[in-house]
């Protein structure tokens, strides 16, 4: 059978590409640095500036997400049609976020 023939085919191991591996570690370093920055913001920007804090946190989260999805999940290097098939449906998430938080504030105004 073809199966047992394959069993004896020797596997050729390709040597690692140092550049590529270095790039992966760089992405990891960037992710960790952003997390450290988030900590610094969390404890240096006072709570009175809630809007500023939230904006910084959300921006940093989006940058982290972009690195994870783009580099680790390799989406940045996929076909354009695949990239858009994944990104465009995110519009629904944004719409839901806006609608629900708006609704939450309306409930707050009714209650208090």
């Amino acid at each position: 059978m073809a199966h047992s023939e394959e069993h004896h085919t020797p596997v050729t191991v390709i040597p690692p590409d140092k550049e590529k591996i270095k790039k992966l570690w760089t992405v990891a370093l960037i992710l960790l640095m952003i997390t450290v920055l988030e900590f610094i913001v969390a404890f240096s920007v006072p709570h009175q500036y809630e809007a500023t804090r939230v904006t910084i946190f959300i921006l940093m989260t989006i940058v982290k997400a972009a690195y994870i999805v783009g580099e680790f999940m390799h989406l940045r290097h996929e076909a354009k049609v695949l990239i858009w098939s994944i990104l465009i449906p995110m519009v629904f998430v944004i719409w839901m976020l806006v609608a629900f938080v708006y609704e939450g504030m309306a409930i707050f105004n009714l209650r208090y």
Partner: protein, 249 residues
């Protein structure tokens, strides 16, 4: 040979007519992507509902130094998650959850290195990096188990009692930190994420086992490592959002 190459480019035929992958990705990888998309909707729904309920509750207005737990306002997360194991009573806000973030990011790196090794058909390297990834996942789960246990049992000192009631820790109906919904969301969101991590560790182990048994060498490619890798990175991605919206904001 000439006839097959011309038939693809013949008038009226496109890449979508079959025989090729229009998105340049195999069926399995594509399905993993769309599964992850649907899973992203699930997690978005949970986190956005947290946003709705939180914005429907009053926030804490006063001086952060004088913050006390109360049923009247939503708690400030850094005041809730401020304990680390083995140092009872030490005030270390968000340090433990930062450590958990570090562990998960590191296990994501080891996973991507396993995928890279798979592309090179390097079985020994895949085994090594898969083991590190499994170890990272198990460490994360252990951290979460401790965090849940601490959250449920509550602090034994400091101002930790809601008005009128001497209630320590948290259950689904009541908690010492703030409105009942706060603990409910903590359990649901971190629990659902933790369950994903648990499934991820199981899948990673399966892949590790198959690698050791030489299944992928016989198959001629390590695409399964890549597919499960996508899932594992997604788990890390979700944690990035949980970390921001549950612990930081």
């Amino acid at each position: 040979m000439a006839s097959t190459s011309t038939s693809v480019q013949a008038p009226g035929r496109s890449v979508w007519d079959g025989g090729v992958s229009p998105m340049g990705a195999s069926y399995g990888k594509l399905m993993m992507w769309f599964f992850l998309l649907s899973d992203a909707f699930t997690f978005s729904a949970l986190l956005i509902t947290y946003g709705l309920v939180r914005s429907a509750h009053p926030g804490y207005e006063g001086d952060i130094e004088l913050f006390q737990f109360s049923q009247a306002w939503w708690p400030v997360p850094e005041k809730v998650f401020e304990a680390i194991p083995f140092f009872e009573g030490l005030n270390a806000p968000l340090v433990f959850v930062g450590l958990m973030t570090f562990i998960l990011i590191m296990s994501s790196v080891t996973m991507v290195l396993a995928v890279e090794a798979g592309h090179r058909m390097d079985r020994a390297a895949v085994e090594k990096w898969m083991l590190w990834t499994i170890l990272g996942g198990l460490t994360f789960l252990s951290c979460q188990a401790w965090e849940w246990s601490h959250f449920i049992h509550g602090a034994h000192h400091g101002p930790s009692v809601a008005e009128g009631t001497k209630y320590f820790g948290a259950s689904l109906s009541q908690n010492q930190y703030g409105p009942p919904d706060f603990a409910a969301f903590f359990f649901f969101i971190t629990g659902f994420h933790g369950f994903h991590v648990f499934s991820g560790v199981c899948l990673n182990f399966l892949i590790y086992y198959n690698t050791v048994m030489g299944v992928y060498d016989r198959r001629g490619h390590y695409e399964m490592v890549e597919k499960v890798g996508l899932y594992w990175h997604f788990v890390d991605l979700v944690w990035v959002f949980v970390f921001t919206f549950f612990y930081l904001v």
